[in-house]
Symmetry: C2
Subunit: 113 residues, 2 copies
Amino acid sequence: MRSISLRIDLTDDGRIGPGKVELLEQIATHGSISAAARQMGMSYRQAWLLIEDINRLFRKPVVTARKGGRHGGGAELTPVGLTIVARYRAIERAADAAAAPHIAALREEIEDG
Amino acid sequence: MRSISLRIDLTDDGRIGPGKVELLEQIATHGSISAAARQMGMSYRQAWLLIEDINRLFRKPVVTARKGGRHGGGAELTPVGLTIVARYRAIERAADAAAAPHIAALREEIEDG
């Protein structure tokens, strides 16, 4: 289990957090918005509202129709979608590393309690 | 405005985040739970429930009655309360520093949009 959850405020009312980033990753993995939504236990509509939210924030699409392949209706991340995921995960890895000794010390307080 | 909000999961169902940490800081600043609650726009009861939550997690009090002084009913942080605040803020500073270049790059994507 990851110990840290990060919310990043990019503008006054525009933010990304673990839910949106996982949704983008699931879309990249499954090549489909509906499969990603199902995987996360949310409705297609909920997933689409989250995507719209990110699209509005970045003012360009983060998900696009997948070209080619035998299955119609697939989806994939755009370059900006890929960038969001990569940068968020990089921040998270750095924060995890920086936090590790502090979290170990706090857990020791709990166990000594 | 801080760009990052951190939630730290210390046990399966025990976590600390910006709200609890700010409450502890406000108690340290004002020497009073009710003044801290007022400052944060919450009721005394809400503040007390948050404190109970942290007490339960650490299995010892994080806030104690303040000794001495002319005003009765004051409160101050215990050593474990002070440790929680210090370590949370240290994690946050490290995460902020690590995140800064990534956040700048994401904001540039937004401005280029």
